[in-house]
């Protein structure tokens, strides 16, 4: 998973305003190449989020969207929720990196609900992010734990957004979504196009 975070980091340009989803996407920040200045937004009201806080400096009133204790960089800004989501929904954030349950060949994303009626539904900011952020990158294992493809013709889980994903980073490949088609941009070391296609329900293009 860290390799995927590293690959995403290479694609984040100097000067970008970036929102990282909870979980593996958070590790992207650790791999930004030296010399690039990237500003992290967390939707609970901080632009200029720094590293996770050390135990002795943890402040329960300085947290990220995953409610982890974090730090703020010199030059950071705090703001209220409507302003924070104006940054997201108003198209001011350049890149958002999210996890996924499923991505469809047209770039539909399902990442908030498995549709299981026993689960407590919770959505957070995911639908706002995919609707408003300019570029959406997804980090995901290529297949589920049971080996089912996660890149599918049509999502069977409830959607977070339609035609929203721009690029998918998996343990097998990096795949672009262009004009409602999937194009393999890069293969993981030792992995063939055919092998990736075998593990993908949707049609892949070279």
């Amino acid at each position: 998973m860290y390799e995927m975070a590293q690959k995403v980091a290479l694609d984040i340009p100097d000067g970008a305003y970036v929102n990282l989803g909870i979980g593996i996407p958070e590790f992207v920040a650790d791999y930004i190449p030296q010399g690039r200045e990237v500003i992290y937004h967390t939707e609970n009201g901080l632009l200029g989020m720094g590293k996770v806080a050390e135990p002795q400096t943890q402040d329960p009133e300085l947290v990220n969207a995953g409610k982890k204790y974090v730090t703020a960089i010199p030059g950071a800004a705090y703001f209220h929720h409507a302003d924070s989501f104006a940054m997201i929904r108003g198209g001011h954030i350049d890149i958002c990196v999210l996890g996924a349950y499923q991505v469809s060949e047209e770039g539909d994303l399902a990442n908030w609900s498995t549709g299981n009626p026993d689960d407590i539904p919770a959505v957070g900011g995911a639908m706002d992010l995919v609707a408003g952020v300019k570029t959406i990158y997804v980090i995901t294992k290529h297949c589920t734990k049971t080996g089912s493809p996660k890149i599918v013709k049509q999502c069977t889980y409830p959607l977070t957004g339609k035609n929203v994903v721009n690029r998918i980073y998996t343990d097998l490949a990096i795949i672009d979504v262009i004009g409602k088609k999937l194009y393999v941009r890069e293969l993981a070391p030792g992995v063939s196009f055919e092998f990736v296609q075998q593990n993908t329900e949707a049609k892949l293009n070279r």
Partner: protein, 240 residues
């Protein structure tokens, strides 16, 4: 003379009535007005509709209010947290109603409520289950759903500093929903860590102007919700 300061949390929540809609600030524990919520538990109003981003942790604060069966419905974006036990249990038993709202839509509905805007269109949630049954319209080739403003009878908000006019500043990411919730309620009730003289907050640094605030109580040593949860504290209320 204008003086919005009251002396106790009990005085601050007086007059909250059964069936009221109450906005409660906070993103998890950051900004959660724990002392005001506990005073509301002591006070005992029932059948409340709560608007809050989360649904509480452990058995204190908002979770304790729910556990005390005072909440009929919650409007929120993320009712699960790692240590959220009360809401899931009641929800699975069908004993509390949930209106799930994307977080940005929740914030904007509250902001609109405070700004006198009855409804607005947003592309957020289009083509998802959360848009079902909502009016849709296309703008410049993009679909958007109609979302209605939320107004409340009361808001409970935590801030860092307040003066007697109700001018407020906040602490870091504890600001979150506070400023917009102050705008969207008929009666806004604030707990401040410190009450200062008018003028002590630089007018350039006022985050919530006093016009949006009705009552202020100083709680100079507010509890950290996470510590209460870690100590397995259960708040049952003080019967008066």
């Amino acid at each position: 003379m204008i003086n919005k300061v009251v002396s106790t949390a009990k005085d601050a929540v007086s007059g909250i009535y059964d069936g009221a809609t109450i906005m409660i600030g906070g993103f998890g524990e950051a900004g959660s007005p724990v002392e005001l919520i506990h005073a509301l538990i002591d006070q005992g109003s029932k059948n409340l509709t709560i608007v809050s981003n989360n649904a509480g942790s452990g058995h204190v604060g908002l979770a304790a209010l729910i556990e005390n069966r005072q909440v009929k419905k919650i409007i929120c974006s993320f009712p699960r947290t790692a240590i959220s036990v009360v809401f899931p249990e009641l929800y699975n038993k069908g004993e509390i109603e949930l209106e799930l709202v994307p977080q940005g839509t929740l914030a904007e509905r509250i902001r609109a409520g405070g700004a006198g805007i009855p409804a607005f269109y947003t592309p957020t949630s289009v083509h998802t289950p959360l848009a079902e049954g909502k009016e849709q319209r296309d703008f410049n080739g993009q679909s958007a759903v109609l979302e209605y403003a939320i107004q409340a009878d009361f808001s409970l908000v935590k801030c860092l500093k307040a003066d007697r006019y109700g001018n407020l500043t906040y602490n870091k990411t504890a600001r979150n929903f506070g400023p917009i919730m102050c705008m969207a309620a008929k009666t806004t009730i604030v707990q401040a860590k410190q009450i200062v003289e008018p003028g002590a907050i630089d007018p350039e640094h006022v985050v919530t102007p006093g016009i949006f605030v009705n009552r202020i109580v100083e709680i100079n040593n507010p509890a950290d919700e996470s510590k209460l949860v870690a100590e397995k504290i259960r708040y049952h209320g003080i019967k008066s």
